[in-house]
């Protein structure tokens, strides 16, 4: 476990599935050099196949006894989708618009499909997913090379590209399939929680760019922070599939605000909710009942009295309050290490922890 843990909360009631976060991350980190197919951040439709395809069935994580479970390494073509591009430049010369590869699958292939019958009870909602920077990461546990590490300073889980030899057991070990194989460099890569930004006081790109302002970022031990309040004080933000045993550090406010169902005549069924509670329970555990109760009660309270700290937080007035990155903390670490500027950790970039790890004296034979 790390000394402190940086965490993210995402309010699913406000996610509109616009993929701005996806694009923010992609343009920042993954549009090049073998990462093209990777989505460190993706927004998937639930229910749906997700990304990679049926990731919840691909194994990894831990059982109740704490034993790592075997998992599967997905295939780019069938499970992630080969990225394709269009010949936009050629359209002006009279060419037909066509993709450069024959698309057979891709992330969000089934976007907005959902389930149920239109218009009576169909439904879906969006789940944005990034690496959970787990407290007990399946990826780290699976690595036979000690190439994955969890930063002591803030719990960010990173791949040391110098130690990584591209064996891909981490991908099998992560139950969220949020670590990917880069075929060009033959190594694994994943969301880095934008640590180079965070260390300089900037929020992760996906959170900064989010138009719905659904993302809160801060330290879990910062009791003044909104992340702490949502997770620990009000307990309305819950980890996704905590039954996988990795103790994820991305939390979700469950979707409470779904429209009611319609009856055969197209009339509203009062008090009904299109999102089945069993589905929410599967994703967020039994705690989801209490979380939804709290959310509704606070909403009522706000309606009646005009006051509710929880509702104020969820309205997300100020970025400065949503993102509490404790820059002084990073600065003080940097200072202690004699660095005038972040980053405080250069292992990710240079594999510094592997250098001079072993110093040998050759054994002489006479």
């Amino acid at each position: 476990m790390s000394k402190r843990q940086l965490a993210m909360v995402m309010d699913l009631n406000k996610c509109i599935g616009c993929q701005t976060c996806t694009v923010a991350c992609k343009t920042q980190w993954t549009n090049r050099n073998g990462r093209e197919y990777m989505y460190w951040n993706n927004v998937e439709t639930y229910p749906g196949t997700g990304y990679p395809k049926n990731w919840m069935e691909l194994g990894g994580g831990f059982d109740a006894a704490g034993d790592l479970q075997a998992g599967v390494v997905p295939n780019i073509e069938a499970d992630y989708g080969v990225p394709w591009d269009y010949n936009h430049d050629e359209l002006q010369f009279g060419e037909q618009l066509k993709p450069n590869v024959d698309p057979t699958w891709g992330p969000n292939w089934d976007e907005d499909e959902g389930t149920g019958n239109f218009p009576s009870d169909n439904y879906f909602f969006y789940i944005p997913r990034i690496c959970n920077h787990c407290t007990n990461p399946g990826c780290l546990s699976a690595c036979p090379r000690d190439a994955i590490f969890k930063r002591d300073q803030d719990g960010v889980v990173l791949v040391d590209l110098d130690r990584c030899q591209g064996y891909r057991y981490c991908i099998a070990g992560c139950p969220y399939k949020k670590i990917y194989f880069n075929p060009k460099i033959s190594k694994s890569e994943k969301c880095i929680l934008c640590f180079p930004r965070v260390e300089k006081g900037l929020p992760p790109a996906c959170a900064q760019q989010c138009v719905g302002r659904i993302r809160f970022v801060g330290f879990l031990d910062d009791e003044e922070g909104q992340v702490y309040k949502l997770v620990h004080k009000y307990k309305v933000a819950l980890p996704l599939r905590s039954d996988y045993g990795t103790q994820p550090n991305v939390y979700y406010v469950p979707p409470t605000e779904a429209p009611p169902k319609f009856d055969a005549e197209g009339r509203v069924i009062e008090g009904s909710n299109r999102v089945p509670i069993e589905e929410l329970e599967k994703l967020f555990g039994k705690e989801v009942h209490q979380a939804m109760k709290t959310l509704r009660e606070e909403k009522e309270k706000r309606k009646k009295t005009g006051e509710s700290e929880l509702m104020d937080i969820l309205i997300a007035y100020q970025h400065s309050e949503m993102f509490r990155l404790d820059q002084d903390y990073y600065q003080s670490i940097a200072k202690k290490q004699g660095l005038s500027l972040a980053p405080i950790d250069n292992r990710y970039m240079q594999g510094k922890n592997t250098e001079n790890k072993y110093k040998f004296k050759v054994v002489e034979y006479e």
Binding site: D67, I185, Y365
Partner: protein
């Protein structure tokens, strides 16, 4: 235990009790061995030694599909040759592989064939050689690895992948970008050929400062791979004289082999023909195992080894302790004996460090691994018999 396995075990006891790997005789030459490739004519004049490569089953990997295809993996017979000159030694490993697998293209789940040569830094005491699986604490090994990976993109040509180009405006700088990319590709695309220093699973560290000069090559034909490794007899890591041990590993990409999923030999003695020294090591490593395997089996049962270890026919594979299904194939008799008398001498680190917290096979005390296995200081005869039995635990040769 079902009848079939009992019968198989009983018959293998007889067949393999006397079995040990022969020494590789490295021939001396005046020519420069650094010129040797897998297909060089010179190899035809050197006698081959047959060795065996066993499935590594000490620790269970966590890839579901790979575990399924390797479930009943068999051992393979391979051939080794060696030639040395004044400065360098060249090894040739020839091993059967029905499918040529190369890791290439924009794919996440293909794996290349490959092979490795392992050499101990210290081999003075044949009874205290490094653990066969990538060395052990205080007993380092040097590993030379060659994999059939088409190209690895490392933009500064120096194994540093952190340093990557960003191409943002293709329209405006199209030609310059193309030229730049070509330049980077030329610099960056390199062979997957690496040397490591290692003191046990998880500690293997690439030697990237150029202090280990070796070359390797692989060539496929007639449903078999031939691989060569040429390295100095003496450098900053190793001094190879007289007689010394070597071990080989092979990966089958078609069976999703990589890292621990591989075939592995035991320590094979090498004799530099024409040089004195190392006779004791060579004779000890190639000596047949003494002891009564049948009695050893009873002792293993009486002492309850299968309570923690996986022993085919006696227990199921699990997490509690290193699996012994192929221990007889890749371990030396001396190692097996040492492990029973002093389990702390070599503690095999589990692959999945945090994976089985309730049944750890070692605890870390002051940064040193302490085995949870108690010592078994039995009498010499009992130990010999148990070692003789453990040496029979190995997959059949296909």
């Amino acid at each position: 235990m079902n009848k079939l396995t009992t019968a198989l075990l009983a018959s293998s006891l007889v067949a393999s009790a006397a079995f040990a790997e022969d020494a590789v005789l490295a021939q001396k030459t005046d020519r420069d061995v650094t010129q040797l490739t897998p297909t060089s004519k010179a190899w035809e004049y050197v006698k081959a030694t047959t060795i065996h490569l066993y499935p590594q089953t000490t620790v269970t990997m966590n890839d579901k599909k790979a575990n399924a295809v390797n479930k009943d993996a068999k051992a393979k017979e391979a051939r080794v040759k060696a030639i040395y000159d004044n400065k360098n030694i060249a090894f040739l490993l020839e091993w059967p592989d029905g499918t040529k697998s190369v890791q290439k293209g924009y794919r996440s789940d293909v794996y290349g064939d490959g092979f490795a040569v392992q050499l101990p830094v210290n081999y003075k005491d044949p009874k205290k050689l490094p653990y066969i699986g990538m060395g052990s604490d205080g007993r380092p090994v040097v590993i030379h690895l060659q994999k059939a990976v088409e190209a690895v993109y490392e933009p500064n040509g120096n194994g540093n992948v952190g340093d990557q180009q960003v191409v943002l405006n293709k329209n405006m700088f199209g030609d310059e970008v193309k030229a730049y990319e070509a330049k980077v590709a030329k610099l960056a695309v390199r062979d997957y050929q690496r040397s490591f220093i290692s003191e046990g699973f998880r500690s293997m560290t690439e030697i990237k400062d150029g202090s280990e000069k070796f070359s390797a090559d692989m060539s496929y034909g007639n449903k078999a791979w031939k691989g060569t490794v040429v390295r100095p007899l003496k450098d900053a890591y190793l001094s190879l004289k007289g007689g010394f041990p070597v071990a080989f590993a092979a990966w089958d990409g078609a069976k999703m082999n990589r890292d621990g999923l591989k075939l592995l030999s035991t320590w094979i003695p090498v004799k530099l023909v024409g040089q004195s020294g190392g006779e004791k090591l060579v004779s000890e490593l190639s000596a047949p195992v003494k002891g009564d395997a049948e009695n050893g089996k009873n002792l293993v049962m009486q002492n309850g080894c299968m309570g923690c270890h996986y022993i085919p026919g006696m227990s199921e594979p699990g997490y509690m302790a290193p699996g012994l299904a192929n221990i007889g194939g890749y371990s030396t008799a001396a190692y097996l004996r040492e492990s029973m008398v002093d389990p702390n001498a070599v503690v095999v680190p589990g692959y999945n460090r945090n994976a089985h917290p309730n049944t750890p096979w070692y605890n870390e005390v002051d940064g040193k691994r302490q085995s949870t296995m108690p010592p078994y200081p039995l009498d010499d005869k009992s130990l010999d018999d148990m070692v003789a039995y453990l040496k029979t635990l190995k997959a059949e040769v296909k």
